[in-house]
């Protein structure tokens, strides 16, 4: 008879705890500072990720209308059309029928997973709904690989985020800044910083 109960084994199939990484995000911090500087202004924000209580709680500090796009997974599955096929209709994928134009778009992780050939069309779709001077905040992987699917980002503070490390790996497009700007006509990078593990933080602004 065993004196102590044997420790529970990690049964096969038991989901592992998600792993996270903390990131200092100076471009996001400066964006928040700009928004804080104009407390009377009402901001129209579009988050392309799924609804997150964490994001909503953070942006509740502003007078803001917060739109949830929840399209990251869909974008990651889109494939470029064959030569005789029509391009995907982004008006169906992400309808932007809101009355007011957008001041900020959170594209966290989205640029990495949308096919390069589709990025200009998607960018144009967003641009049409942006106010002059609107911001786009994004993260781009600059090393060889990235998680197999878009991951979630939690806002820890105005200058810190927590990124899920996801599962599996796939090749990352590793866009250099100039290439990214060419793929997103109308948007110009106003701030860019290489963070941990090859994650590049971008703040774009509508020209």
């Amino acid at each position: 008879m065993a004196l102590f109960a044997s420790p529970k084994k990690n049964v096969a199939g038991t989901p592992e705890q998600p792993r996270f990484e903390e990131l200092g995000c100076p471009a996001f911090a400066s964006l928040v500072e700009k928004m804080d500087a104009d407390p009377e202004r009402k901001y129209h924000v579009l988050d392309l990720a799924a609804a997150s209580g964490n994001h909503i709680e953070f942006f509740s500090r502003f007078r803001c209308r917060y739109h949830i796009g929840d399209v990251l997974q869909v974008l990651s599955y889109l494939e470029p059309p064959e030569p005789e096929e029509p391009a995907p209709d982004f008006n169906l994928i992400l309808p932007l029928h809101m009355k007011d134009k957008l001041d900020l778009i959170l594209v966290w992780d989205g640029l990495n997973y949308l096919d390069k050939a589709l990025l200009p069309g998607f960018s144009e779709h967003l641009l049409r709904k942006c106010n002059p001077g609107a911001w786009v905040h994004a993260f781009v992987y600059t090393r060889g690989d990235m998680p197999a699917k878009p991951v979630s980002f939690d806002i820890l503070s105005s200058s810190t985020m927590r990124r899920s490390l996801g599962e599996g790996a796939t090749a990352a497009p590793c866009y250099p800044q100039r290439v990214l700007e060419n793929l997103m006509p109308g948007f110009r990078s106003v701030q860019s910083r290489l963070l941990k593990n090859g994650v590049q933080e971008y703040l774009f602004q509508v020209q």
Binding site: A51, G53, I56, F59, R63, D70
Partner: protein, 154 residues
């Protein structure tokens, strides 16, 4: 027709100008004493719901829900296609429509909402599903004198 969660009715139930209308008086409990009227899981209402007491919906409602100064809860079994206006709104079930919460809107881990929310405080629990927009401008969620006061946008 209505569930009787606690006591026999002391006041009429939340008024439902519904189709089909309830065929007999709806047993319900008053809210001023902290009790809640329940619309049971087998009930289907089509029309406009007005009330002066807290309401828990486990059934199916299509139309508009207007609880002036009271709390609305959509239970886990509730399936709602309606615009709702209440002091606080808690969604544990499924709702399609616009929500106007004077104080707070909460979507719990089992809640699924598609629509627009206007409220100074919005809580989205982990696991909740929400697609739409949230107006977090405290000035936006003003009490209205008419049903279906929730903001239309997006």
């Amino acid at each position: 027709m209505f569930d009787k969660p606690k006591k026999e009715a002391e006041k009429p139930a939340a008024k439902a100008s519904a189709s089909p209308a309830p065929s007999k008086p709806a047993p319900a409990s008053s809210s001023n004493s902290g009790q809640t009227t329940t619309i049971g899981a087998s009930i289907k209402l089509n029309g406009e719901l007005n009330g002066d007491e807290d309401l828990l919906i486990q059934g199916q409602v299509e139309g508009n829900i207007y609880l002036k100064q009271h709390n609305l809860t959509i239970g886990e079994q509730g399936v709602i296609k309606a615009n709702a206006f209440a002091r606080t709104i808690t969604v544990r079930g499924t709702l399609t429509g616009d929500l106007n919460g004077v104080e707070k809107v909460t979507i719990t881990s089992t809640g699924k909402v598609r629509g627009n929310i206007v409220s100074p405080k919005v809580i989205l629990e982990e696991g909740a599903t929400f697609k739409g927009s949230i107006d977090m401008d405290a000035k936006a969620a003003k009490p209205a004198s008419q049903p279906a006061a929730s903001a239309k946008s997006a």
